[in-house]
Symmetry: C2
Subunit: 343 residues, 2 copies
């Protein structure tokens, strides 16, 4: 028997940034002495904190996700843990595993079916699996390599450019020989994407009173591919600058997650999609698992050759969930936000 702290859903939050009214920490007892067949007990090492989590807390059946967290149940996310007991012969104590549905808890007993065992000898840092080799890297790869598919010389725009997806996507587009511009929320982050992550240029959307004018300045020849991570007013502004046959992979719309849909910013110029014959397409990484191996192979090779860099923001302690989640919506992070549960 082990005491374990876990985050559970106390109340849905249709609007606003979730608070301790909605997500609460409690201590439960985990029975690691009678583990069911095909299950393992894990000590959690890291939990990924992602914008899509917000969309699972609304209690509504719209928007980005249909899979709402359940009231009074522990919430889950992408995580890594160390096996401390096993009732599956494929896993033994000490194995480090990834899980897409890791309880946000210090310890857990979970089915081994969705786990992926890591090879400790391959030299890949664990957090790479949360970043470039994990969900954000895969989303960036799908957005650029599969759906956006820009040609050399194309003009590529990426919003939330200093987030985990944006940092990776910008570098992938540069590898393809594109001109890449990013938007982000502070001057410091603009500097960073240009100086450390290869963006050709970027701007601070908080300082631009007129997004349309900003895009005119940064895209005198229009936009060929826009990887949308924010939605709302930025998407609207982009639609005034799209080139013929532009492609807009919709990875997420973080500016919209804290509002019920009737309160969201309406995009008024969708007619431009007709005139410019634009293709706009939403995607969810779990629908493209048949491409994961292609992605992993290419990304590992880029990492080995030093062509892709990444950045993590590590918050220590499971109690950091609420502020980690809130930080996604406040322009305060660079790169991937993770909680390190076990020091």
């Amino acid at each position: 028997m082990l005491e374990s702290r876990e985050w559970y859903l106390a109340a849905y939050a249709a609007e606003g940034i979730p608070t301790s009214d909605h997500l609460k920490l409690r201590t439960v007892v985990v029975d690691i002495d009678s583990i069911p067949d095909g299950h393992v007990a894990l000590e959690t090492l890291f939990i990924s904190v992602d914008p899509y989590m917000r969309t699972r807390l609304t209690g509504l059946q719209d928007g980005i996700s249909l899979h709402q967290f359940q009231l009074n149940q522990v919430i889950n996310g992408f995580g890594a843990g160390r096996v401390i007991r096993s009732n599956d012969s494929n896993y033994k104590e000490g194995d480090v595993v990834l899980s897409p549905f890791s309880p946000v808890a210090e310890y857990c007993v979970i089915p081994s079916g969705f786990l992926r065992k890591l090879d400790p000898t391959n030299g890949i840092p664990l957090l790479d699996y949360f970043n470039t080799l994990g969900p954000p890297g895969f989303a960036a790869w799908l957005g650029i390599e599969v759906l956006g598919d820009p040609k050399p010389g194309s003009n590529v725009f990426i919003s939330a450019a200093s987030g985990a997806v944006g940092l990776c996507a910008g570098q992938l587009a540069k590898i393809r020989g594109c001109r890449v511009i990013g938007s982000t929320g502070t001057d410091e982050k603009v500097k960073l994407i240009k100086e450390k992550f290869g963006y050709d240029d970027g701007f601070n959307y908080n300082k631009e009173t007129d997004l349309d004018a900003a895009l005119s300045k940064y895209f005198p020849n229009g936009i060929d591919v826009y990887l949308d991570n924010v939605g709302g007013k930025m998407l609207e502004a982009v639609l005034n600058h799209v080139n013929l046959h532009a492609r807009i992979p919709l990875c997420g719309m973080i500016s919209q997650y804290n509002k019920v849909w009737t309160e969201r910013e309406g995009v008024r110029n969708l007619l431009n999609l007709v005139g410019k014959e634009v293709k706009m397409e939403g995607f969810i990484i779990s629908s493209y698992l048949d491409r994961f191996e292609d992605f992993a192979k290419q990304m590992e090779s880029y990492l080995k050759d030093g062509k892709i860099k990444s950045k993590n923001k590590i918050n220590f302690g499971i109690e950091r969930l609420l502020d980690s989640l809130a930080s996604l919506f406040s322009s305060s992070n660079i790169g991937k936000v993770v909680i390190q549960v076990k020091a």
Copy 2:
């Protein structure tokens, strides 16, 4: 020398339905006695009146079309004419030809490069080339067969269902074995699309105070393909009912053409495109000319087999341009609107 009445652009109309302030009729003299090489003189038989024409009258570089009509110049559209003089050995007096850029005039002298000579012995009524075998039929075919591509049993929704595109698209989707629902602007037109054009059901959007509720009723299993001809509030309502991997070919957005973009209805729930991984794609028929032969072959066979029917609204006399154009925006027509210039 011939006297000819023609419609010319006197002033752009950024908003509202164009009036005699914007489009004016004048009489000019056409010189048919010295026709340049590679030109023909035509007596106009029919002129097509289409929603996209409205978008060429704004004087703005946004929306559906970049090709604005020029001030003080005769406007043009899809038309048919009879050759009355020719300076091109491929055309002789009496030939009937189609032109995508026919001056809206009683007579004209134009280059023969874009003309298509019709075969008077093939038994196809001339107005079929304006309807099922012309731009509306091609748009419907691209929307259903190429971009929408619904499977048998799919739930297909078509707005402006009693317009030329909508009538044809509904029948094409029925041939594919889909369940097809249409929206249109009067009860009479709802009855018509169901009784004469094979729609499974339909509703009058002017009577539905809650489009969301209407779609819940008509699509208990969600929408797989939406051929959008109207945009705005209807598109927004549809996005609350899309199924996973739904496709939305954007053919036009007639509800939006009479407003400058900042005054248009914003679509607030684009986030649903992400969660449902929807593909939304604008298209213009002139970009798909490589598919025209495939289209024409299939459509001619459907017409021969009586599988596709059509309807025309013929207004007599070139002076009918303004009311013909206005009628497109007032729910007053069924099928293709044409002006018969020569009785």
